[in-house]
Symmetry: C2
Subunit: 117 residues, 2 copies
DNA sequence: AACCTTTACATAGACTGTCAAGGGAAGTGG
DNA sequence: CCACTTCCCTTGACAGTCTATGTAAAGGTT
């Protein structure tokens, strides 16, 4: 899980989804699993966060959906990036990168009062 | 500013404040400025986010306040970390670090489909 | 049948950030 | 002395995203 009571995910979930979909169409359940595995369980996306996120991203035209049958023979809504979605992914990934650098700049352990270590 | 409509800050603001205060007591205005300068303007904390954050952190016992006079001869509420605040800082900094690594693992550019670059 | 897995959705609620507005006190330039 | 700017704090309305929790249904397995 993403740890205790932290809302770090806030604002980041969408980029993560976009990136996941950049590898090809996938359904919600698959996206969550992929993210979880990829990050060794550190990123545990709740269904209640995931599906609403997918819905609003579709509404905004970043992804499109299509019902299909999975290899496990179940109905699933496959999402894929649109042109806008790809652009969005590029922009957001850069924005995240800048933001993360800034935070790292502040939190950098090497620049800590001794007691804080 | 932290860029367009991103809520990346969500959940991160408190660690940033804690870390800033780890250098010594400081007032709100000073905290915001310090963060802004330290990150070349990338982190622009709104007063409407900052002060409420300080208030709730005080309510939770992570920081304590004391009115004093600044070197510019103005009244200001100086905040400093409590024992709980220091612990919180350590824990949250670690949590952030893990989270950021996980996100980086996913967004890593070197692992991108060619069109996404 | 009973049960687990896969897949999707919805509602309620809490939390936290933005926006916008306001106020007061100390300098500074005229 | 007045106007203006800088410093510093506060709060309320509002919006957005996440969590918690529960529902649903179909396929596979035993």
């Amino acid at each position: 899980m993403a740890s205790d009571g932290h809302l770090f995910l806030q604002g980041t979930l969408e980029v993560l989804i976009l990136k996941t979909l950049s590898w090809g169409p996938m359904h919600g359940y698959g996206i969550a699993n992929w993210l979880g595995e990829r990050t060794d369980g550190e990123l545990d996306i709740e269904e209640g966060s995931l599906y609403p996120a997918l819905h609003r991203m579709e509404r905004r035209g970043w992804i499109e959906a299509e019902w299909q049958i999975t290899d496990k023979n179940r109905r699933a809504k496959y999402y894929q990036l649109t042109r806008d979605g790809r652009k969005r992914l590029r922009d957001d990934a850069k924005a995240w990168s800048r933001f993360a650098s800034a935070v790292a700049e502040v939190l950098d352990e090497s620049k800590a009062p001794s007691w804080a270590t």
